[in-house]
């Protein structure tokens, strides 16, 4: 169908209108949000029964935020903490602010938590003393009676003279830390001669949204500085002039804030420099301002399409994905170069001025889109977002070039202002000469490149691949320092790993936990880890309560409590038979139960519980030992992510091979076997060499270096298509050089990113494009089905 340029414009405007309406609809129905949540950026998404509950657990961890308010005088520190809490409560997006505990758990309240259930609770050690013949239960009972400073025996002996309950409660339910509770409920600690008061809070749901994060952190910044100082003027008598209140804060939101600030800065700088470089390149090539406007228009349209794609497929987009998406500028500008160069030499009366390059442009889009589309296979959200943004953006650029540029061609003079003589002195001419020189000895160059590729493969064989997700992004040293300092101050020893158990009923879940505890107690005795926190350790299942009571009754009958009875003045040690059970619904409302509530979760009709660990020394042994448990999963997010990133790295390598084969098939069908071989081998070799150079420069390689391969292949195939379609000429040299330079600028600029993942991606693509551009003209030396060949 031959449409006039005006009809094409109308067609473009119609689809634009439809897309604009569609965009408005999406924006109203499901507006996209931008976040800077680093913790979820490189995590792998699963769709199994554990995913939803793990997300809940992660969300809870990520929303925690704390302040330590310090001063040499505790009274001043407490007053400052109170002031801080008051102001924090005023901030939108901050909730559950707590500087002072209201219901402080004490020994009596712990004992009361088990009131009425005293003789159905046994520790594993107490059970061991009762059942093992070589152990005397009296030894354990005497230890309890004789324990220095013990209070529990005196408070529980009337209800349970066997001292089983006393032994049960002679443990700390609190995780290990260095906090002390003041009489009025403030959690305090001493550090370097200062008293610090702990103020905890949570960020509200959705606080990782870019705007909310920024708003919360800037409000927090304002609190820390002058406001508090003025509110403390009433304490000037006790506040030495030379000592300020020390505020130490940590939480995921600060990392997100820094990440978003850095990403936004990079977007501005890298994006700005990329556009500037591209525009200079256009002006240098065409010496016409109109070409600048056309290219800016094209880039603008492609960005709009990119965002439309993101809106269609994602509810939430990470800001770091947008930094990656800067690459769209360089690739979208290619279409502008190809068409502008063509339009320079085509008469304005021509009905289809881009007829000669239509196929090249469409093929070029298809190969690039295919390359990015394959990135979607990798189940890491950042890759999906980059792919969707780029594919939609390029599609927008392509249809704009095909439908709008012919109309513009009729209205605007695109002819170059550079005279023929000047043209002969331009970079394009010189590059063309260099290419000509290379083509004269193309076999030698080919041999050299193949040798270099083999050498690169040897280097790559010895290169270490890093799958540590934390090394993919840069965390400000100051934040890390503060986090480590806070951990040291609090004496926190809880590890990130945990065991997640699932069951359909609370009792079944407790029984599952009890099975796990048998394994865990053995592992703890073998020092695989220091300690753990589990609900079943403080709340036995009904079946376990029955077993415990039965054991106490049988031990009494066997006379195991007689020695204790004598010590107590021949008072009979009575064991009452069980008549009702301690249930989760009751226990979680008790003072001790509240401490464990965060370990117990419900999702749909299933119950989940977490067992947390402290001081893990051998995570592999722990993980292996727990793998025998049914309905349980050992969660080691960092290690799991590392393992999965390693797998995806291999998947990405296979995808690259698949993309090469796909490219080969397309080339084979259009250009024949020899050109297809060369079309694929050139970018593949360029990629191998670029990877090897990156490995030498970086010291290791990551998933992002490998991801660069698809972009190198896609762009390399583009260059080959133009040479295969149009042969070797100064015009094609100009087009491909412009195209390569625009991409080179963008990716080279990207390699200066402060985010290691982006920098390594940019660096490898940059090196790869330089090499593919240098070698692409060899395509014209190979005979094939179509196109023009350079003279041999």
């Amino acid at each position: 169908m031959n449409l006039s340029s005006t009809h094409k414009l109308y067609l473009w405007l119609t689809q634009c209108l439809l897309l604009a309406l569609f965009g408005v609809f999406i924006f109203i129905e499901k507006p996209i949000t931008f976040n800077a949540n680093l913790t979820s950026l490189f995590s792998v998404e699963h769709h199994n029964q554990w995913q939803a509950v793990q997300k809940k657990i992660d969300a809870n961890l990520n929303t925690s935020l704390l302040y330590l308010v310090g001063h040499s005088q505790q009274r001043v520190a407490i007053q400052a903490a109170d002031q801080l809490a008051l102001q924090l409560k005023q901030i939108d997006g901050i909730e559950n602010v707590s500087a002072q505990l209201k219901n402080i758990p004490n020994q009596q309240s712990l004992i009361d938590s088990y009131s009425g259930f005293e003789q159905q609770l046994l520790t594993p050690a107490f059970t061991e003393y009762l059942v093992q013949k070589n152990k005397q239960i009296f030894d354990l009972q005497f230890q309890l009676l004789n324990q220095l400073g013990d209070q529990i025996v005196g408070q529980t002996i009337a209800k349970d003279p066997t001292l089983a309950l006393a032994h049960y409660l002679n443990r700390s339910p609190f995780p290990s830390n260095k906090l002390t509770i003041t009489s009025d409920g403030y959690l305090t600690l001493n550090y370097q001669n200062n008293h610090y008061v702990l103020v905890t809070m949570k960020t509200a749901e959705g606080a990782f949204d870019l705007k909310t994060t920024k708003s919360i952190v800037s409000q927090l910044d304002n609190i820390s500085a002058p406001e508090l100082a003025t509110t403390l003027t009433d304490t000037s008598k006790v506040l030495p002039q030379d000592q300020a209140i020390d505020y130490i804060r940590t939480g995921a939101i600060f990392y997100s804030y820094e990440a978003s600030e850095q990403a936004q800065q990079e977007m501005q700088w890298l994006g700005g420099l990329s556009i500037l470089a591209t525009l200079l390149l256009i002006y240098f090539a065409y010496r016409r301002f109109v070409t600048l406007f056309c290219t800016i228009f094209l880039i603008g349209i492609s960005i709009v399409y990119g965002f439309l794609g993101l809106n269609l497929f994602f509810d939430e987009v990470n800001v770091l994905s947008l930094v990656f998406a800067v690459t769209l500028i360089g690739i979208a500008a290619d279409y502008s170069f190809h068409s502008l160069t063509e339009l320079q030499y085509v008469s304005t009366a021509h009905l289809s001025p881009l007829k000669n390059i239509n196929v090249s442009l469409i093929l070029s889009f298809l190969t690039t889109a295919l390359g990015y589309l394959l990135l979607v296979v990798v189940p890491i959200v950042i890759f999906k977002q980059i792919a969707v943004f780029t594919i939609f953006g390029l599609f927008g650029a392509l249809i704009t070039v095909l439908l709008v540029f012919p109309y513009l061609h009729q209205r605007i003079n695109f002819a170059s202002n550079v005279s023929g003589e000047q043209d002969n002195n331009t970079v394009f001419f010189r590059v063309n000469k260099q290419h000509q020189a290379m083509l004269k000895n193309w076999r030698g160059y080919s041999f050299f490149i193949l040798t270099l590729s083999l050498l690169s493969l040897v280097i790559l064989g010895k290169t270490v691949f890093s799958d540590d997700a934390k090394s993919f992004y840069q965390v400000p040293a100051q934040l890390l320092e503060t986090e480590n300092k806070v951990k040291k101050m609090l004496g926190q020893k809880l590890d990130n790993q945990y065991l997640l158990l699932q069951a359909e009923t609370p009792q079944a879940l407790l029984e599952n936990e009890e099975k796990a505890l048998v394994i865990l107690n053995n592992l703890q005795a073998e020092n695989v880890f220091a300690s753990y926190q589990a609900v079943a350790n403080w709340l036995p299942s009904i079946k376990q309560q029955q077993r415990n009571n039965a054991l106490l009754i049988s031990s009494k009958k066997q006379g195991q409590f007689d020695k204790l009875s004598v010590l107590l003045g021949n008072n009979d040690v009575i064991v009452q038979p069980i008549n009702h059970y301690l249930l989760p619904s009751h226990w979680f409302n008790s003072s001790i139960g509240k401490l464990f509530k965060h370990l117990w979760l419900q999702d749909n009709n299933n119950y989940y519980s977490m067992i947390k660990f402290a001081g893990i020394r051998d995570v592999n042994t722990l993980s292996n030992a727990l793998s025998v448990l049914e309905n349980a999963v050992f969660v080691d997010k960092l290690a799991d992510t590392e393992l999965e990133l390693g797998t995806f790295r291999l998947v990405l390598a296979y995808i690259f091979v698949a993309a090469c084969l796909a490219g080969f098939v397309i080339f084979y069908l259009r250009y024949g076997f020899k050109k297809a071989c060369l079309g694929v081998v050139v970018p593949a070799c360029a990629f191998a060499i670029a990877l090897a150079i990156s490995a030498v420069l970086q010291g290791n390689l990551t998933l992002f270096n490998l991801a660069a391969g698809l972009v190198i292949l896609a762009l390399g195939l583009d260059y080959s298509i133009f040479y295969a379609e149009h042969g070797f000429s100064i015009l094609i040299t100009k087009t491909t050089l412009m195209s390569a330079l625009s991409s080179i600028f963008v990716f080279a600029i990207l390699s200066f990113s402060l985010t290691p993942a982006i920098a390594s991606f940019g660096q490898t693509v940059f090196l790869g494009i330089v090499l593919t551009f240098m070698l692409a003209p060899i395509m014209t030396k190979i005979s094939g089905k179509r196109g023009h060949n350079a003279s041999k």
Binding site: Q74, R75, I104, N106, Q107, Q108, A125, Q132, N134, K135, F138, D139, F142, Q143, L145, N146, Q147, L148, G149, D150, Q151, I152, V153, G154, Q155, I157, A158, N170, R171, S172, F174, S176, N177, K178, L179, T180, I181, T182, S183, G185, L189, N190, H195, G491, Q524, A525, N527, A530, S531, L567, L568, G569, R617
Partner: protein, 230 residues
Amino acid sequence: MTVLLRFLLSVLFVFSVQVWANDSSEVSHNEKKTSINSHKNKQTDTDANISDPNIRLERFLARLQIKQGIASFTQQKHLSFLANPIVSKGILKIYQNSIIWQVQSPVFSKLVIVGDQVWQWMAQEDNNAPNYQVVVSNASVETLIRAVFTGDISQSQWNISMDEQQCLQLSPNDLVLSQAINYINVCVSDNQSQRFVTIRDAQDNLTEIELMITTKQLSDEDIHEFVINP
């Protein structure tokens, strides 16, 4: 509670080994035995000249700093629900900031405080390597242990008072400890190798402990006992 226990252990040992803190004085260990009274008087005179009670206290606590030693103890526990006190005997060892509280009779038990953790000795079936388990860890006690050894007991956490008989009274400000202890009284006899510690708990039970310092040197074997290698 073991929280309390850790505190008590540290306080007990501090006072039991106070004499070692005087190593830097001109008087040798043997000489001390014969001139304890004069030494004490000299010390009291010096302290009496200091009008600021805080400085007096600081000086007293500074003398508590010790490196290592062993003391034997006898403990009598008067529990309100027992007609007769529970009597036990054992030894207390200290090495740097670590403490071992070992009851030897009538029933063996052993607690080791290393760093900020309390380890309980667990009986082994095969009597091979000793097995320890963490029983509790609490910052208030950790802070106190460090404070006592550095002579810097936080007055915001503890009410501290001293009497003329060189007895120190501590009553806790810390909520957790105050739920367990009313007060602790530590006295030093004329013979400085003996210490008497009285603990009155929140339920009015009384624990009396008599400590006798036996040595200020630990053998390699003793030091090895502090190595908990979990």
